[in-house]
């Protein structure tokens, strides 16, 4: 299982005399094996939402629950993929992926089997003995995704994972993530500011407002995706041409633009 629930969550940073309200009254539920993307302008607190689930940060008010349990500290059941990859540069690709399994005391033979399987799935088999710095950004992020996925986590937390990649690599990674997520579904909380990415990947998209961050609107993508059978298209650009996709994207853009207008007004 892996149900995430934000229950009236608030997060305030800074001193009491000069508080900064990052999150206010956040209510959101991510169902088991559901893929939810949070989009919002930069500085709206979307990454803070993810950090609360990861156990890197804690709410000032309200509750963040996973399977109805409050979060006390980071755990491998809630695996994180970071924007800057956060690989261990002194460990090979293989050893980076292996660390989490060793921490869980998985036996050597099973470790190797699981590592080989994920390396194959992520097209990394030839790079098992490479160090992160010998790989391109896209490859490094594949390793980071493999490191998280190999743990078979209940929840996968992805913090703008493709934000540091160039446009072409980004598209390839998005397609691969869709492939991976459909084949091996997990509860995913995906943070991004790229609207197309959110629509293409997620079952539902939550739109956030600028500080204080609130959830303005949650859009159901999945029913439309399934009705129009997006997953039958191999390439992202084919999906992006569909009227249903364009419609959703435009809707989210408008919603975000209202935010921008409100902020500058």
């Amino acid at each position: 299982m892996g149900v995430i629930r934000f229950d009236n969550v608030g997060r305030v940073f800074g001193a009491k005399s000069n508080p900064f309200v990052a999150l206010k009254e956040i209510d959101l539920e991510v169902g088991d094996k559901e893929f939810v993307a949070i989009v919002g302008p930069s500085g709206c607190g979307k990454t803070t939402c993810l950090r609360l689930v990861a156990g890197f940060d804690f709410p000032s008010s309200g509750k963040v629950l996973v399977d109805e349990q409050p979060i006390r500290r980071p755990r491998p059941e809630r695996a994180v993929v970071f924007q800057q990859f956060a690989l261990f540069p002194w460990k090979t690709v293989h050893d980076n992926i292996e660390l989490g399994l060793r921490n869980q005391s998985v036996a050597k033979a099973e470790r190797e089997e699981r590592i080989n399987r994920i390396l194959e799935l992520m097209n990394l088999t030839a790079y098992a003995k490479h160090f992160p710095h010998q790989l391109s950004g896209g490859m490094q992020q594949r390793v980071a995704i493999a490191r998280a996925y190999v743990l078979d986590p209940d929840v996968l937390l992805m913090d703008e994972p493709f934000g540091a990649l160039d446009a072409q690599t980004r598209v390839v990674m998005q397609e691969e993530l869709v492939r991976l997520a459909r084949r091996n579904p997990r509860t995913v909380l995906f943070i991004t500011h790229a609207v197309e990415e959110a629509v293409y990947l997620a079952d539902r998209v939550a739109i956030m407002t600028r500080a204080p961050g609130r959830i303005k609107e949650v859009l159901d993508i999945r029913s439309i995706r399934e009705a129009e059978d997006w997953d039958s298209y191999e390439k992202i650009e084919d999906v992006m041409d569909l009227e249903s996709f364009v419609h959703l994207r435009t809707h989210i853009w408008r919603s975000l633009r209202e935010e921008k207008a409100a902020a500058t007004a």
Partner: protein, 261 residues
């Protein structure tokens, strides 16, 4: 690389020829002030085979090298863990930092008189002074090494459920190791500087002792031999440490080669 080597060799050769010219051939520098190449070789022969200032060159070298390595080892074995602890634990930092701030401005050489008073002219005093000198760079750089670890790397380790001991060995130390090695190089330099100074002030043998006696004997050739010996030893130990570093940080070397790409 061969081109650089050729130029380097040519530079040294030119300097030796110049040295020979201004001393032996032209006599521009009096032999009492700076020795000629022949006088230096004679001094080398003297200390190498007949012995000088209480021992042969090999005995002096072995003694100095032994003390430097001992003092250096004591310093890094105590300094690096302390630096790591201070970098990692706020309480430890708060406790130790004030002591450090008081001790740090004292030049290591200023400890020599106290060390001799406490431990005499033998090995103990030398090791203590080297320890004081080499300790500081080890601590500071290990501390800075921990402080400069990127936060996501620490969060990744936590997210993967890494237990404490494994975290220290496989994450904290390797992440800080480029800075730790910077500290070790500075510590090693400090070790040589302090040892020679300590032996100059008072010792039964060692290269500093050779320098001290040669000065009293007005023996420029021997002074130069002592200086060259210290230079070669300092260079060789630094080189050895550099090789160790290259091995330990091969992952970092790859990063440098790939242009951080």
């Amino acid at each position: 690389m061969p081109r650089r080597l050729t130029i380097g060799a040519a530079t040294i050769l030119t300097l030796v020829v110049l040295w020979f010219l201004v001393t032996s051939v032209l006599g521009l520098i009096a032999p009492g002030r700076f020795p000629s190449p022949q006088a230096t070789i004679a001094a080398l022969d003297h200390v190498l085979f007949r012995g000088y200032a209480g021992g042969t060159l090999v005995e002096h070298v072995v003694n100095s090298l032994r003390l430097v390595l001992l003092g250096f080892l004591v310093a890094i074995v105590t300094g690096v863990p302390l630096g790591l602890l201070m970098g990692w634990n706020r309480t430890a930092e708060a406790l130790i930092n004030p002591v450090f701030l008081i001790i740090r401005p004292i030049p290591p050489l200023a400890w020599i008189p106290l060390a001799i008073l406490w431990l005499g002219l033998g090995d103990g005093a030398k090791i203590m002074v080297i320890w004081f000198a080499a300790f500081v760079p080890s601590v500071i750089n290990a501390y800075a090494g921990v402080r400069t670890i990127e936060k996501p790397v620490l969060e990744a380790a936590a997210m993967l459920g890494t237990p404490k001991l494994r975290f220290i060995v496989e994450v904290l130390v390797p992440a800080a190791s480029p800075m730790i090695f910077t500290g070790l190089r500075l510590s090693l330099q400090a070790s040589w500087t302090t040892l020679v100074a300590a032996e100059l002030v008072g010792a039964f043998y060692g290269l500093g002792r050779v320098l001290n006696v040669a000065q009293q004997d007005l023996y420029p050739g021997m002074i130069l031999v002592g200086m060259i010996a210290v230079a070669i030893l300092g260079w060789a130990t630094t080189k050895g440490l550099g090789m160790l570093e290259a091995r330990a940080l091969s992952w970092n070397q790859a990063a440098a080669l790939a242009g951080k790409g």
